[in-house]
Point group: C2
Amino acid sequence: MEFTKIAQQAKQASLEIAGLNTRIKNIALEAIASAFEQNKKIIFDANKQDLISAKTLVEEGKLAKSTYNRLKLDENKMRDMIQGVRDIAKLEDPIGEILLKRELDKDLILTKVSCPIGVLGIIFEARPDVISQISSLAIKSSNAVILKGGKESINTNKTIMDIMNSALKTIEEFPQNVIQQVFTHEDIAQMLKCDEYINLIIPRGGNKLVQYIKNNTNIPVLGHASGICHIFVDSNADYDMASRIVTDAKTQYPSACNAVETMLIHKDFPLKNELYASLELNEIKLVKNPDRWDIEYGDKILSVKEVNSLDEAIAHINKYGSGHTDSIITNNTQNAEIFMNNVDSAGVYWNASTRFADGFRYGFGAEVGISTNKTHARGPVGLEGLTIYKYKLTGNGQIVDDYVKGEKHFTHKDV
Amino acid sequence: MEFTKIAQQAKQASLEIAGLNTRIKNIALEAIASAFEQNKKIIFDANKQDLISAKTLVEEGKLAKSTYNRLKLDENKMRDMIQGVRDIAKLEDPIGEILLKRELDKDLILTKVSCPIGVLGIIFEARPDVISQISSLAIKSSNAVILKGGKESINTNKTIMDIMNSALKTIEEFPQNVIQQVFTHEDIAQMLKCDEYINLIIPRGGNKLVQYIKNNTNIPVLGHASGICHIFVDSNADYDMASRIVTDAKTQYPSACNAVETMLIHKDFPLKNELYASLELNEIKLVKNPDRWDIEYGDKILSVKEVNSLDEAIAHINKYGSGHTDSIITNNTQNAEIFMNNVDSAGVYWNASTRFADGFRYGFGAEVGISTNKTHARGPVGLEGLTIYKYKLTGNGQIVDDYVKGEKHFTHKDV
């Protein structure tokens, strides 16, 4: 099918799901979870087909082993995928929340109410469980969604999508075409141009994919291209805390976007050499003269720089960081406050590991992605990031001319 | 000066003003207001120079008379401009507001706090008072700003900017380069490409300008290209109310973006012909067969369409509207609710004129613009639209590994 037709269908679906009540949405999510349970074998079979092709590509050196691993669905991932859908059903409905209620004048009431964004475009790489997760988030937030997955997982993706849509078809009140899938590279090009129908693009994948998308669309993009996170060890930092936090932030999951890439260390920190030795003992490779300061290693490698002052540390982070998450380790409250106010990042931490930057750890119950944008949503984004608001105004015949002429006056009272 | 250099200066200024306290910001605004009062004559003289050139252009047919009028500063506009700066000083500081405070675990506290966006790029047409208004809003919200005005008002713009910056220089704590101006068409091209330093573009001008900007940048744009507003007169609408509201929405200020362009009327509304006659008596020209339904007349002209149902009215609005503001006139509560839920616009009104869509009328105390975006800010945008947030996390040495291993558990309690 032509992309424009799919996008038009998504737009129509978005209008129909906008007002759908919470109960039906949760029934739809439970139907999806049950359908996955009943059709596990079909999904695993489809996944095996993808794995056979992928294995050949790995052997030919055309596909990374890590991609192969992300592509592979096993019982654990399947269980998590199904549980993920049910967890989203349990979340509060983010739609219809009253954000402001104000009397503009007698019998003229303004209400600001949360509502869905409309149509989401999702472009993701190998992980097929993204389909189920993003589709569930879209349903819960009353958005329509068009997904484009990686070609390596095409059989798995098609099978998961078919199972979801078959489940949704059993629910009479649920609109058609809320979740749709496209497959070609040309579809991506068209999606990025389709600002008439698509309201938000969410890329789920590596730096290159996200950067490509950000550079090639004027549709808002929610995400982050890179995660260059820093930890600044201040002159009076606690030695044990510094060692533990830097080790956690670098080694607990080195390929995560919230892993630390650069340690800045105050020249007057008395246990510098001990700290270096301790990190090296924890298998971290220290690089004291990197070619560039904006490297995301994704591995147990850490750039290290001595700085002369707090201000120098802040300036370094604002220059080379990606605005993701940066932490200071210090016993000096004033320095901590200056750091948290002046570092221009989505997360600014004091005496805690950068690895806490995560929607689940923040207690959002879901994570749409992590954003380094300066508008709409920043940092770990929960369901709320898939909503916007509208203003409802109810009157009994009020006209502006009466207020301009001074015959009536606004009261502007929040109610 | 090269644009990149100006943008870098703005970025630096944005980091410096981010943490500036409310008192200094308000002192800065009062200094600007006083400086305008003391230098009124210099501003009027500069404006006269612009008016002389503009008059020639009007006579040669190269400039619209309406542009000339918008360009002209008189005592009234000057008084409003000065008062506008003082009104912004009186508003609550939108920065530093705590939006969420949550204990993730004992002694691990997450705080979501409002902060400035960074650097704003403003592109505006003839009205020179925009400089003072937007600069004041930027200062109050701790953003840096780069303004590009129309060439017709270049002398006035330069003079106003010089007076503002001279006033700001007298305040020692106020950072340099918070408000800057650029002048050439090439500067616009560079601004639109400068996503490294500019975080939000706000166009203030006509449809063509806004559309051009939206199509030529991947920086977020706050604004609306057009205002195709509708009023739907339902079958059981009150006749007097319909006549009054449509007349107000069309004639009170026909060139406003929230003026109505299309009246949809239910085929069973019994007083159709009387309503048409009444609107014509109020000097509204009715167009029952327009070539297109997405016309913004900016004049006392109104497209009219009879529809068979509420659903047809809603579908028409969602197809041809601009998502700005649309109103239903009805005595049927259920129809009003369906209309307000299913029309996908920033403002959905019941028995009120579309002309209420305005930041001041909503009680925001200021208006940055009116947005038809589906992300960040929608509808009339107050100071809040110039803010985003960051997450501050304060701990005492917490690492993620303890939670992954199950040695510690999140409490997730809002405090």
